[in-house]
């Protein structure tokens, strides 16, 4: 409050920062100058912020996504936030809309799951239920510890991301994750139109790259523009709550209702997955009590195949 910043300057800076747009340094500009010298002079000029903080008047064509800037921004995360997800197991009807929305957004193959809806039961005979399982975005993540090149890391807003421009494909993080939350691009990934020329967005992990690990990102790209994650928005059954633990508020992806996080957790006896491992997940589950669905055994799985029977001792 004490320090006044002109609204115009902040909004421009924010705008540019928001979309990771920056202008190359002097040398890059001059190179572009040579290239564009044959183009007519009356090209529209716009004020731009260079990487070293100067405002210049440049041509619109000089605007481009800068991979380096995007990576720096993606590593920092959003200040003052601590993102959490609450999954109400009583609501999940195995619609799998979260899975398809996620796979569409992140350009994944049908067998690659950033979020996977599992059929499970707490103990034998206690009744099956559907359990959506994204990355837990642990506060003590076993995966980021073991990465030899700092390709996967935890941001200040609690999100665990992976930089597939740096990943060497050793798959130690996959071995370390007790939640089996990570997937690998064993072959050439599924490319969508425009992926060949797209600048890599770490917060979306698109384009996917062969020989690198991919994982749930809590839709960091959506959070940056103030929207709910893809899976949360896609759910038709009100299973997901998503929000900020610092604000102590979560919003339901279906009804858009916002409630107090602490009340939601304590009223419902929320729990985290495998708490005995000490990973401190950012994803909470509400117990599957008073289920709104009937569990159907022997359903075809997400791939339309019969699920092999789980092996028990």
């Amino acid at each position: 409050m004490s320090k006044k910043i002109t609204p115009e300057a902040t909004s421009r800076r924010n705008f540019l920062k928001k979309f990771g747009i920056s202008v190359g340094t002097a040398s890059a500009v001059s190179t572009l100058g040579i290239l564009s010298s044959c183009v007519t002079d009356d090209e529209e000029k716009v004020p731009m912020l260079t990487t070293d903080g100067k405002v210049i008047n440049g041509k619109k064509t000089e605007l481009k996504l800068n991979l380096n800037e995007m990576q720096i921004r993606s590593r920092e995360g959003l200040s003052g936030k601590k993102f959490v997800m609450v999954i109400d197991l009583a609501k999940c009807k195995n619609a799998r809309k979260c899975m398809s929305a996620c796979q569409g957004a992140h350009h994944l193959k049908p067998e690659q799951h950033h979020i996977n809806v599992l059929q499970t039961e707490n103990a034998e005979g206690t009744g099956f239920y559907y359990q959506p399982k994204p990355c837990m975005h642990c506060d003590n993540p076993p995966c980021t510890k073991v990465c030899p090149v700092d390709a996967t890391f935890k941001r200040k807003d609690g999100i665990v991301l992976i930089d597939n421009e740096r990943c060497i494909g050793c798959r130690f993080c996959i071995a370390a994750c007790p939640y089996s939350a990570r997937v690998f691009n064993w072959e050439e990934p599924k490319y969508y139109e425009g992926d060949e020329n797209a600048v890599y967005d770490m917060e979306l992990n698109v384009p996917q790259k062969k020989g690198t690990v991919s994982k749930c990102l809590f839709s960091a790209d959506r959070l940056r523009i103030g929207k709910l994650p893809y899976c949360v928005s896609a759910c038709p059954n009100g299973t997901y709550w998503f929000g900020d633990a610092n604000e102590d508020a979560v919003t339901n992806g279906t009804s858009k209702e916002t409630v107090r996080l602490s009340t939601l957790l304590s009223d419902n006896g929320a729990y985290t997955l495998l708490p005995e491992l000490g990973t401190k997940p950012s994803v909470y589950y509400l117990p599957p009590k008073d289920r709104t669905f009937e569990y159907k055994a022997g359903e075809l799985n997400y791939l339309g195949e019969e699920e092999p029977k789980p092996q028990h001792g």
Binding site: N116, I174, E187
Partner: protein, 449 residues
């Protein structure tokens, strides 16, 4: 008196030179065929690896759940076998055992070749080997992989030194006596590698003290090497890996694997080079006893590693134990065959003197090496195949791990490369330390060079 001594010394030295150096100048057909076969396997493996590079690791049997397979198991196997250099030369040698003299160099050659190929195995497993420099550009010291890369390289360097330094007097002998028997380039190589060795008492003094430092130094480095390798698994939360004894469990297992490899190498080198006077039944007997000793220690760690969780049967551990112990479990047959042929039977037979002869020892060595390899698969794969949460909504081949032909070919190629390195080393360098043998026989080695 001294004249007689000198003459007898010279006669002994001439005999040793004749026995050890003659095989180095001969290239019989069988050796050429052997090298040709190894090169063929390596060539096929390189072709397989190129296919893997082009199409991705999807060419292997690994998938999202079992994301480490034969390559990592082989990496652990190679590191394990490489540890024998430290066992024979340092641990047994520093205890003052003289019987290791004729086989210490063989052990060092195996150690060097297998340590180098361990590095190759891990590169082959990488999804993006083109980014290997990221390990140095962006290396994070919190990651056990960085520790492993560091310690593997240190071990390779110390192994080279431990191979080369004790060879200096021998290289001096070759330089002095073999000029007319060798091609010019080869003699020049020995001339350079001998580092101007003439065998003065001062040089021997420096050599002995340097070797002592190296032999002591390699003990913690080798321990670190295999302990860190075990931590690649043990530092995760997964059932079957989440164990506090993985370090010593791996190190003792490595001694067993390495003893097996040395027994096999001893047998074939002795036969090919007709070294029956140097590597005698006595040495096989001693190696057999050493194998039994390290085998028993490893057996003790196996008891702890498997029976303690099997007694408690915690949910995830119970799953793991079932797949290994029960013949209905996915890895039951492999587990019991490995434990029987790779550990229990070798120990049992090794207890009896008639089996501590060259041929039976070689057979036991082969069984140990094969068993050791499968044991590494059993350590790596079942744990990954049974994660805490159910494996669902994935194709059938994600549930199980079966290595593909390409994967097996590439793995065999790495093994062939390790054996090729050993085969070349034993051809271009004296396989038995001549000066140490002479010293043992009471020859005044300071004079004869």
């Amino acid at each position: 008196m001294s004249e007689i001594k000198k003459q007898s010394d010279e006669a002994i030295m001439a005999k040793i030179r004749e026995d050890i150096l003659t095989p180095m100048t001969k290239f019989p057909l069988i050796y050429k065929l052997w090298i040709g076969m190894l090169l063929t396997i390596i060539a096929v493996a390189i072709w397989g690896y190129i296919i893997q590079l082009q199409n991705g690791l999807g060419q292997t049997g690994m998938r999202d759940y079992v994301s480490w397979g034969l390559y990592i198991a082989s990496f652990v196997f190679f590191v394990a076998t490489a540890l024998v250099g430290m066992l024979i030369s340092a641990v047994v040698g520093l205890l003052g055992q003289k019987w290791i003299i004729p086989i210490s160099r063989i052990a060092e050659m195996i150690a060097l070749a297998f340590a180098m190929m361990a590095g190759i195995a891990i590169v082959v497993d990488m999804g993006r080997p083109d980014r290997i420099l990221n390990l140095f550009l962006h290396g994070r010291f919190q990651s056990p992989i960085i520790w492993d890369v560091t310690v593997v390289n240190v071990y390779v360097i110390i192994s080279i030194l431990l191979l080369l330094l004790p060879m200096l007097p021998d290289l001096g002998i070759i330089r002095n006596h073999m000029k007319k028997d060798l091609p010019k380039w080869q003699w020049n190589m020995y001339n350079i590698l001998s580092l101007g060795w003439v065998g003065t008492p001062g040089q021997y003094k420096i050599l002995h003290s340097t070797l002592r430092v190296l032999l002591i130094l390699i003990v913690p480095v080798a321990m670190a090497l295999h302990t860190v390798t075990s931590w690649l698994s043990a530092l995760t939360l997964r059932s079957g890996w989440d164990s506090t004894i993985f370090g010593p469990y791996y190190v003792t297992g490595a001694f067993v694997a390495g003893s097996g490899a040395v027994l096999v190498a001893m047998y074939f080198i002795r036969r090919a080079y007709k070294l029956e006077d140097y590597i005698t039944d006595y040495h096989f007997d001693k190696m057999g006893k050493l194998m039994v000793l390290v085998g028993l220690v490893y057996f003790y760690f196996n008891l702890n590693e498997f029976l303690v969780p099997a007694y408690k049967m915690k949910t995830a551990d119970a799953h793991h134990i079932f797949t290994l112990f029960s013949f209905h479990g996915e890895y039951g047959v492999m587990f019991w065959l490995t434990q029987m042929f790779g550990l229990i039977l070798p120990i049992t037979f090794g207890l009896f003197k008639p089996f501590r002869k060259p041929f039976p020892m070689m057979i036991i060595g082969v069984a140990i090496v094969i068993g050791a390899w499968f044991k590494r698969v059993i350590i790596v794969v079942p744990t990954l195949a049974h994660p805490f949460l159910p494996v669902q909504n994935v194709p059938e081949n994600f549930h199980h791990y079966v290595p593909t032909g390409l994967e097996i070919t590439v793995t065999l190629g790495i093994l062939a490369a390790a054996i090729l390195i050993v085969s070349i080393l034993v051809k271009i360098f004296p396989v038995i330390p001549m000066w140490e043998i002479a010293e043992e026989k009471g020859v005044d080695i300071h004079k004869d060079l």
